[in-house]
Symmetry: C2
Subunit: 247 residues, 2 copies
């Protein structure tokens, strides 16, 4: 019985997302595939522990307490704290979205982002995900992922994200060449892969022991200046690695 309660709790918490931060109990039940009575009882108990919270208008949300528990011992907290001062400097110089991503399976999860109000369009958000093969951060992480992960991605479907996504990342042979180029050059520039107006530029971020633990990237206007961000990105990535290694 214990196992199934844990699964139900996980299904309930997973119904909340950036597009659905607040839901009625009946919506949670439907999305989680649970009887309303069961969902209601578990939501009640999760609210008592502060993991969920009730709005004034009978909606349920993720509780601040769950964020606190997950954040204070987060495995990415050390990385984020080391990266943030360098990301700030980078953001001040580049003036556009600056973000930090880690690999989770076949996707990149963005764990930190700095944005200026007047920056170019950017579809990512904190705690948002993108497939590895269509984003600059994801390509850097894939290039340095274990061989079996690379083979899984290369063997699977490689759908374009938008009509602008080039064949170089949707065909295994092209993607394999691109990944080799990233390992050789130490960066990637993705002009218009996701949006015609923007370019993603990413570099690997190495942890203690030189393994790649994250990707540092900027989203800039898609023009001939995009590649000029590489030296600043590399310098910032070196700084973060130095701080992490000295701890």
């Amino acid at each position: 019985m214990g196992e199934s309660v844990v699964s139900r709790v996980v299904r309930i918490v997973e119904t909340f997302g950036s597009d659905t931060p607040a839901l009625r109990v009946s919506d949670v039940a439907r999305r989680a595939g649970l009887h309303v009575a069961t969902a209601s009882r578990l939501i009640e108990e999760l609210c008592r522990h502060g993991w969920l919270e009730r709005d004034d208008d009978r909606h349920v949300r993720i509780g601040v307490r769950l964020w606190e528990l997950a954040s204070r011992a987060s495995p990415t907290l050390g990385l984020r704290e080391a990266a943030m001062p360098f990301m700030e400097d980078l953001h001040a110089v580049v003036g556009h979205h600056t973000q930090l991503g880690v690999r989770q399976g076949h996707e990149v999860l963005f764990v930190e982002r700095l944005s200026a109000p007047n920056a170019v369009l950017n579809i990512t958000r904190v705690a948002g995900r993108l497939p590895l093969h269509v984003s600059s951060s994801g390509l850097v992480l894939l290039a340095h992922a274990p061989a079996e992960v690379q083979e899984e991605v290369l063997a699977g479907p490689l759908p374009p994200r938008t009509p602008n996504t080039p064949a170089a990342v949707t065909e295994p042979a092209g993607l394999r060449r691109l990944l080799a180029g990233i390992r050789r050059d130490g960066y990637v520039v993705c002009p218009g892969f996701i949006d015609r107006e923007t370019a993603g530029v990413a570099v690997p971020l190495r942890g203690p022991g030189e393994q790649v633990v994250a990707a540092l990237s900027v989203i800039v206007p898609n023009d001939r200046h995009a590649r000029a961000q590489v030296p600043a990105l590399r310098a910032a990535a070196h700084g973060v690695s130095r701080v992490m290694s000295s701890r």
Copy 2:
């Protein structure tokens, strides 16, 4: 039975903290007050869902997946995203720790922090807490908390945080006067309340409907310039409120 499984899961996740990010299964069991077999079984299932993760050396940690779930629908995400550009500007100007805190019961929970490597000492951290009555952020939040929360805090013990904590916040009459002053002036300066070398300066941050939803603060050297940070803090707080109200 469902209730007790949820409680056990909560107790297991709560054993992890900033000082104990990685624990052995036997340590988790002891801290959570569970039999090792029970804890082991629940940890196993939480790992399967990615809510916990296993290290190479048989330690268990909070999983990136739990952080992602809690973050992507976090009730403070909108606040943090609105505040971050202004916090960056403030941090660039002030050059010291800049932080954003929300009230959780009788404590302030820090949800965002920007720090320069060479900044003054600061005991707070992201997802860290401090009692309301000893920190500049906490005092601002207490001054604008519902009357019953203020009375609870004023009626309870008001322990000093350090030998430097002044009597003005450890005696009900003094604290009541200080809170009235904060409501009148719109800011608080706490010179040496927590550390003799530093001063906390905080202002309220208002959400839609003018209610105070957070405190914006800086931790600066404890000298006669501390109060000079108030105008920059106020301007930043106004900017955040404007962005939140326009959404």
